[in-house]
């Protein structure tokens, strides 16, 4: 594949194709060789008057092949006579005429032998079909057999007769069949295929209008196939004039359609040329209005075909530019295919203008093979690529849908979780408010009433109510979903702690570090750690004789830490107080929430360290 994409290789191949096609089209000898030792008859006599039933026709010698376009006669019917000896040792004799135009009636020794179809209402056209006659050798005389050909053409310039082979049919039949296959049978099958392709692509394009290349190619195939009808339809359904107009117009329209395909496929339109081609195509419709077949042929073979030479040359230049500017592999392939079209087209234009032997036959129909194959491959490749892209998009879409489904499922679960949390939070808040409004209000009222009494016996009650209120606040705070992070929880406690410390002349060092947001602190944990902190601070106030207390928080992987540190004497750490109720309560509270409580004692102070595991 890399070699094929190499520029030097590509240009070499292109050059070789040009040379090979040129050689194949223009070099072969036009001389009619012997077939199985049967030499063709190249000398005949021609007369413009019928020798049948008319004595003394004037015969003139003529060399075959004979092309009426080279003669000045206006006759559309001419007679040819060939005199031959019976071929020896044969039961059946065959007559093989490679090319005639358009119609012939055959006579042998004065008797009607055969004819190529009808003369009326319209002359059948056999200009592309080889002729084959077979008869018993008993119909022949040993020598001087007369073979007459009544040749008719639609116009005085279109008549054509190639050399004639007369000999054993077994020796000539193969050559005829081969010629028949090449000239007609193959073209018929090819044309049918082209119509089918055109139909399929047209249906495809109707359902996908934006893929204009399919529509254009369908049109090209259809028009070209219609043009091909001229090569094998003998009994034409319309007048010769209209048939010639159709043949002429469809040739030009085919080239135009192919060019439009090139422009659309390579996505490099040429607006001016496209405008010219549209006008050119419109002018092709005028052929149907020209009243004379001779004028159709004259204008068609010169002006019309001349423009085709221009368009074909432009196409090659366009492709060369596309290839050169973008190193387009497709443009190179199109050039490879364009060369046969151009050369066969050039051959046919020379032929119809009698600048090349008309007995060669038209060649352009054969260039449909590489054209159809290449453009067909282009379209199939494009179609397959579109399918692949669509499949890829479908796969991506499926992936995204699956991802979205997973996300939706996760989000739904999250929403449900949040809803539950919100419900729980709302319920907690409701309980909190009920407690606050009910019990809280009553406790405050009780405290207020007691504060108005000055009796000594009321003091323990005041202290008890105060402690109850403190603990009640802890419970309320633990239920508040707003206080679901440790710094805010401790911050909320600070005024009460501060008040206690201020009363005892102890400074509070507030060393709270910002902790991660995703703390997993529920009401139970919040309540217990607040009680632990409260107890630790109260302990330090009572026993530490410290000038300051530091409250610190920090985090490690998955754990949160709270430290209460003082700089006091180690009074509250004798062995007996290690198991004292306060410390014991703190341990119990820590265990209940899965936290670890440590006490570090030294002469410089005490540090209570609470580690809350799995808090993040």
């Amino acid at each position: 594949m890399r070699l094929m994409e190499n520029s030097a290789f590509q240009m070499t191949v292109l050059l070789m194709v040009i040379l090979l096609c040129s050689a194949a089209i223009f070099l072969p000898s036009r001389h009619y060789h012997a077939i199985n030792d049967i030499t063709p008859t190249t000398m005949a006599e021609v007369s413009n008057t019928s020798p049948i039933n008319v004595a003394g026709s004037s015969w003139q010698a003529v060399e075959l092949p004979t092309d009426w376009s080279h003669t000045a006669s206006n006759e559309k019917t001419r007679w040819y006579r060939i005199v031959f000896d019976a071929p020896g040792q044969s039961n059946t004799v065959g007559v093989y005429i490679p090319v005639i135009a358009h119609h012939a009636v055959y006579y042998l020794n004065g008797e009607w032998l055969a004819q190529t179809g009808d003369i009326e209402p319209r002359l059948e056209r056999h200009h592309n079909a080889p002729q084959w006659l077979e008869f018993a050798s008993s119909r022949l005389q040993p020598t001087d057999n007369e073979f007459l050909i009544e040749l008719r053409a639609n116009t005085a310039s279109q008549g054509l007769l190639s050399p004639v082979y007369i000999g054993q049919s077994s020796q000539l039949r193969g050559a005829y069949r081969f010629k028949q296959f090449i000239r007609e049978d193959w073209v018929q099958w090819c044309t049918l295929t082209m119509y089918l392709i055109a139909g399929v692509l047209a249906i495809f394009w109707v359902n996908r209008r934006k893929e204009t290349v399919y529509g254009v190619f369908a049109l090209a195939m259809f028009i070209w196939a219609t043009h091909n009808l001229n090569l094998f339809v003998h009994r034409i359904p319309v007048s010769h004039r209209l048939w010639e107009a159709m043949t002429m117009a469809t040739l030009g329209w085919t080239v135009v359609a192919i060019l439009f395909f090139d422009f659309r496929f390579l996505q490099k339109p040429s607006p001016r040329i496209e405008t010219f081609m549209l006008w050119y195509s419109a002018a092709g419709g005028l052929f149907f209005l020209i009243p004379s077949t001779e004028w159709i042929l004259a204008l068609g073979y010169t002006v019309w075909d001349g423009c085709l030479v221009f368009l074909g040359s432009y196409a090659l230049v366009y492709l060369m530019k596309a290839y050169h500017s973008e190193k387009s592999f497709d443009a190179w392939l199109m050039m490879l295919v364009g060369v046969p079209i151009l050369l066969t087209g050039l051959h046919d234009i020379l032929l119809v203008n009698s600048l090349w032997p008309r007995t060669d036959g038209l060649f352009i129909q054969y260039s449909v093979i590489p054209t159809g194959l290449l453009f067909g491959w282009f379209l199939i490749r494009r179609f397959v690529q579109s399918l692949n892209v669509a499949e890829q998009h479908a796969d991506i879409l499926t992936e995204k849908i699956e991802e979205a489904q997973v996300q939706l499922t996760e989000q739904f679960a999250h929403i449900k979780d949040m809803e539950l949390k919100n419900l729980l939070s709302a319920e907690r808040e409701r309980i909190m408010r009920d407690m606050h409004d009910g019990i809280g209000g009553q406790l405050l009222a009780l405290q207020s009433n007691l504060n108005q009494k000055s009796d000594a016996w009321v003091d323990p009650l005041k202290a008890q109510v105060k402690n109850t209120l403190i603990d009640f606040r802890l419970v309320i705070d633990s239920l508040d979903p707003l206080l679901n992070d440790i710094p805010t929880l401790l911050g909320q406690m600070r005024p009460r702690l501060q008040s206690l410390l201020d009363m005892n002349g102890i400074a509070l060092k507030w060393d709270i570090e910002e902790l991660p947001d995703d703390q997993n602190i529920g009401p139970a944990t919040a309540l217990q750690l607040m009680r632990i902190v409260q107890e630790a601070v109260t302990n330090a106030v009572k026993h530490a004789h410290t000038p300051w207390i530091r409250l610190r928080t920090y985090s490690t992987t998955n754990s949160l830490h709270i430290e209460i540190e003082d700089a006091g004497k180690n009074d509250h750490v004798p062995q007996v107080t290690l198991t004292g109720r306060g410390i014991e309560n703190m341990r119990h509270r820590a265990e209940s929430i899965g936290a670890e409580l440590h006490f570090d004692h030294s002469d410089s102070g005490t540090r209570v360290h609470l580690k809350i595991n799995d808090a993040l």
């Binding site: 808040e429 909190m432 606050h436 409004d437 809280g440 209000g441 405050l444 009222a445 405290q447 207020s448 209120l469 606040r473 309320i476 705070d477 508040d480 707003l482 206080l483 710094p487 805010t488 401790l490 911050g491 909320q492 406690m493 600070r494 005024p495 507030w510 709270i512 910002e514």
Partner: protein, 214 residues
């Protein structure tokens, strides 16, 4: 020396009596009225136009927030202070959004109550950790689209609110951020104002949505 004319709206007779007695001991304050409902509160505002309105939130015929909004919508010069029980932060926050200038905690000692009132009248802006956190939540998770919120917190203000929510005092915050104490309190007051502006805008938008306004 100027005195502040104070009206009290409190339905609990014990609390009301305590506040009246407490304020009467201060020469700087004159009690103009005492009442116990939203209706009578509105009458007091219309007729007496006090300098300060001490208002409880839970009143028998409505919420004290209605009185706070009344002050704002009628552009009265009255300063609204919320009387808050303990753990009323959510309701206090609503009152602050509505336009209250501060709050006092009724369960605090007399000295602390007087100190709170004076701080607010002197231009201070008390703010508890819970209220600081509520403010952070409010600004960071607004009910309207971010582009519709007219007032947003600066980075410095967000930092200050975070420190406040963690229990730091204004003085400690000023030391941590190496700014003056006055700057910190000014920021807090500005945060209050932004809160109230956003709250008003949101209320207008919501009213417009449900067709109250053309």
């Amino acid at each position: 020396m100027s005195t502040y004319r104070i009206a009290i709206v409190e339905d609990d007779p014990d609390t009301r009596r305590r506040l009246v007695e407490l304020l009467q001991t201060q020469a700087a304050y004159t009690i103009t009225d005492r009442c116990e409902s939203v209706t009578t509160g509105i009458e007091v505002l219309e007729q007496q136009a006090p300098d300060v309105l001490l208002v409880d939130l839970g009143l028998p015929d409505g919420s004290g927030i209605e009185l706070i909004r009344y002050i704002r919508t009628h552009a009265l010069d009255t300063l609204a202070l919320v009387i808050s029980g303990f753990h009323d932060e959510h309701r206090v926050f609503e009152a602050l959004e509505a336009g209250a200038k501060g709050y006092i905690l009724k369960h605090e000692d007399d000295q602390d109550v007087i100190k709170s009132i004076q701080t607010i009248l002197d231009g201070g802006a008390p703010i508890s950790p819970a209220i600081a956190k509520l403010m952070l939540n409010r600004f960071q998770q607004p009910t309207l689209k971010p582009e519709a919120i007219p007032e947003k917190l600066t980075e410095r203000q967000i930092k200050i609110l975070k420190f406040l929510s963690q229990g730091f005092t204004a003085k400690e915050i000023s030391e941590k951020l190496s700014i003056s104490y006055y700057t910190v309190t000014t920021h807090i007051k500005n945060i209050y104002e932004k809160l109230q502006v956003n709250s008003r805008i949101e209320a207008l938008i919501e009213a417009k949505k449900i067709g109250y306004l053309s």
